[in-house]
């Protein structure tokens, strides 16, 4: 016998080797294995393909456009969350449906902890599948050459929404252990999400910005191309959804059978914290304001997010004038140089002719919000082409235009001729200095003459103006009247005479000081 063996046994504090005890891992593993969610995934995958992926492939290959429907308007959530909620309700009602509630209440592990393991397994399946499907969709986009930056923050919002709705569904099942809990949860989730979508179409600010399927102020123009996706609104929504998740899960820990008094007090604290978090999220979005780069929330905004995305432009030439675009739009460079070449050739050598053309970042205007004026415009509709600087530079706001090719939100694909006509019209309108208005009669005359010189006959011009987004069309729907008569006379002049007249009168033309009598 040694001193060591005769020493009194000293209880050793258990070493903490893992964040969760082994039993909890095993419970979670069992729940993951016996979860119903995997059986629902083939159906969800089919819906995801039909509702989220397939329509997006009919749009321009830019992330901001491709993901407008499925991420901005939340169709990936609509495809996933009702089924996640329903399966969670089914799993949550399991003990009650099978008459095991009393049995599991007397088990070693508190009932609430066991319930949380069941919910966690369902949520893990649902969120993992959501991330997998979205990842596959983005991989397909990458393979198709989609340009820009994927909206990763909105993916996180989707995952948070799926989590929150599985929690809500689980609570339905836990409190109402019935076979009807699952359809009731699916029904409720789908009703809430579709209501959220429909409400979101009409609300561009205020509390409605918290709705996970509201795309206003988030998916316009050049987000992820010229400047980063602003994370402010996604962060507020994630806070709200995380708060909802915590609150409803906490509710399931409140009944007497959920566990001891300490655990129930903890559940009550979780409910209170969840409600506070959700309320904070709603409060934060109420302070959101539309900036040039999207919705910003002052308390969350980081000025570093306002920095433009650096890029090496893709450049070409049109009638000898350099034309440079964001590389995300590089695929359309030939179409743009081809469209601009005739009109740039017409004005070549004039004192106000552009020395170069460059794409500029299209900023948020709020114009997608129905029933209200553009929030950031200076009165008239913003134009996609403008001349500025000295020497003059033609700025192209291509984010405002539907580029040639498939167009999911138009009546059909945009043809090359149609696009070229629109770009020539926008250039001529900018060149005469008409700005956001239809322009003075003389400006309209010169615009019509330039377009005719670029191969667009007078008869086709009213229709072209009507089909160009945001273009401030004059009231005339036909190529008749004094403007087109004067344009005919100007166009009939020899090119050199027309050029000389424009060189002499361009400043007065742009200032709007000329009348029809001043025309040759």
């Amino acid at each position: 016998m040694t001193a060591a063996t005769s020493a009194p046994a000293r209880p050793r504090a258990p070493r903490v080797t893992r964040a969760l005890p082994l039993g909890a891992w095993r419970l979670l593993r069992v729940e993951l294995r016996r979860n119903a969610m995997p059986w629902m995934l083939p159906l969800v995958a089919a819906l995801f393909w039909f509702d989220s992926y397939r329509p997006s492939t009919q749009t321009e290959p830019l992330y901001v456009v491709r993901t407008f429907w499925n991420m901005g308007q939340g169709h990936t959530i609509v495809d996933f969350a009702p089924f996640g909620a329903a399966v969670a309700a089914w799993m949550g009602s399991r003990d009650g449906r099978r008459g095991l509630a009393d049995l599991v209440t007397t088990a070693a592990r508190p009932r609430w902890v066991a319930q949380l393991a069941t919910w966690a397994a369902t949520a893990i399946w649902a969120v993992a599948a959501y991330l997998l499907f979205v990842g596959l969709m983005f991989a397909m986009y990458a393979r198709q050459g989609v340009t820009g930056t994927p909206p990763w923050w909105w993916v996180a919002v989707g995952a948070a929404a799926v989590t929150a709705l599985t929690a809500a569904g689980f609570a339905v099942g836990a409190f109402w252990p019935s076979r009807f809990a699952a359809p009731a949860a699916a029904f409720g989730a789908i009703l809430v999400l579709l209501m959220s979508s429909q409400t979101g179409f009409h609300h561009g600010d205020g509390w409605a910005m918290i709705l996970p399927t509201n795309s206003n102020g988030s998916f316009q123009n050049d987000s992820g191309i010229s400047y980063p996706w602003l994370p402010d609104l996604p962060i507020a929504r994630i806070m709200f959804l995380a708060g909802i998740t915590a609150a409803v899960l906490g509710l399931t820990g409140l009944p007497a059978r959920a566990g001891g008094p300490g655990l129930r007090r903890a559940a009550a604290a979780v409910v209170a914290a969840g409600l506070a978090l959700a309320g904070t999220g709603v409060g934060l979005v109420s302070t959101a304001r539309l900036t040039a780069e999207g919705m910003a929330i002052p308390a969350l905004h980081d000025a570093a997010d306002d920095a433009p995305i650096a890029y090496t432009p893709a450049c070409g030439r049109a009638a000898g004038v350099p034309v440079c675009l964001n590389p995300a739009y590089g695929r359309w460079l030939p179409a743009i140089t081809g469209a601009l070449a005739p009109v740039l050739a017409e004005v070549a050598g004039l004192p106000g002719a552009p020395a170069r053309a460059a794409q500029a970042a299209t900023t948020y205007t709020g114009s997608s919000i129905e029933g209200g004026p553009p929030a950031l415009s200076d009165g008239g509709p913003p134009q996609a082409a403008a001349l500025a600087g000295q020497p003059p530079v033609l700025r192209l706001y291509l984010g405002m235009l539907n580029m040639p090719g498939p167009c999911g939100f138009c009546d059909g694909p945009v043809g090359g001729t149609q696009f070229a006509g629109q770009l020539r019209l926008l250039f001529a309108h900018a060149f005469v200095g008409a700005g956001s208005s239809p322009g003075s009669p003389v400006q309209q005359v010169v615009q019509a003459t330039l377009l005719r010189g670029a191969g667009i006959p007078f008869a086709a011009q009213p229709r072209l103006m009507g089909s160009t987004d945001n273009f401030p069309s004059p009231s005339s729907k036909s190529a008749l009247g004094p403007v087109f008569a004067a344009a005919g006379r100007l166009a009939a002049l020899p090119a050199a005479a027309r050029h000389a007249w424009l060189a002499a009168h361009l400043a007065a033309l742009r200032a709007g000081r000329l009348t029809l009598r001043d025309l040759p």
Binding site: A36, W39, M40, L43, A46, L47, F50, D51, P55, H75, V78, D79, P82, F83, A86, W90, S178, R179, F180, A182, P183, A184, A186, F187, I190, L191, L194, Q198, T199, F201, H202
Partner: protein, 237 residues
């Protein structure tokens, strides 16, 4: 040889008396009642009535938000899908093999319950829509014609019954809910295939035929095969 003897009961058998007929009727009633209770049909009826009230409230107070077809129809369609999901879930039975082995009336009961519940759901939803129109003194839209409601609900109930056959009664709700998502997407994108019948105008023949085929297929399969049961093939009922 005459047929006179056929009127006589066979030797050894008892003549069917009024008491026997009463006992048979009582047994039939008891069997039906037990079947309905085991399928939670009373709860389903309460929930269907709730959906009728929801439809009434939505139409009465114009919860529908102005917009395209997807926006205008989404509450009626969601209510119809909810009703179809409830009908599908009532096919779930807890007894499995013993019930199938002992209950020769099971297919008849499944068919009768599905038809009756679909009819009752139609009645409740139609009543909700009509009450909204009347209580708003005609101001509420009469935008849910009976024929359209019957077509949409019947077709979706068929989808629900088919998904109960494929996935099991407990998961029969998945079919109508998935169909609702497909319908909303089709409405938003202007698709008009008759297989997505709610996208077609009222009284469209192709849509009615497709919806009719689906409910017929659903009723036939749920009658003959019954809902899929966990752990294997349900086998003949």
């Amino acid at each position: 040889m005459t047929t006179a003897g056929l009127h006589r009961p066979a030797p050894g058998s008892f003549p069917e008396t009024a008491a026997t007929r009463r006992r048979r009727a009582a047994a039939g009633w008891r069997r039906t009642r037990l079947y309905l209770v085991s399928r939670r049909v009373p709860t389903a009826l309460v929930l269907l009535a709730g959906l009728g009230a929801l439809l009434w409230a939505a139409l009465r107070w114009r919860w529908n938000i102005a917009g395209g077809a997807a926006a205008r129809q989404f509450i009626p369609l969601t209510v119809e899908a909810g009703a179809a999901a409830l009908i599908a879930v009532t096919t779930y039975g807890p007894f499995g093999e013993p019930e199938r082995a002992a209950g020769r009336w099971l297919p008849v009961l499944r068919l009768a319950a599905a038809v009756a519940l679909t009819g009752i759901a139609f009645g409740l939803l139609a009543a909700g829509a009509a009450a909204a129109h009347i209580s708003a003194a005609g101001a509420a839209p009469a935008g849910l014609p009976g024929g359209t409601l019957l077509r949409n609900l019947g077709g979706m109930a068929g989808v629900g019954l088919l998904s109960a056959v494929a996935l099991g009664g407990a998961f029969g709700w998945a079919g109508p809910m998935a169909y609702l998502v497909v319908t909303e997407a089709a409405l938003a994108h202007g698709s008009v295939t008759p297989w997505v019948w709610p996208t077609r105008p009222p009284y469209d023949r192709g849509a009615a035929v497709c919806a009719g085929l689906v409910i017929t297929a659903g009723l036939v399969l749920i009658t003959v095969r019954g809902p899929r049961e966990p752990g294997g093939d349900p086998g003949p009922a």
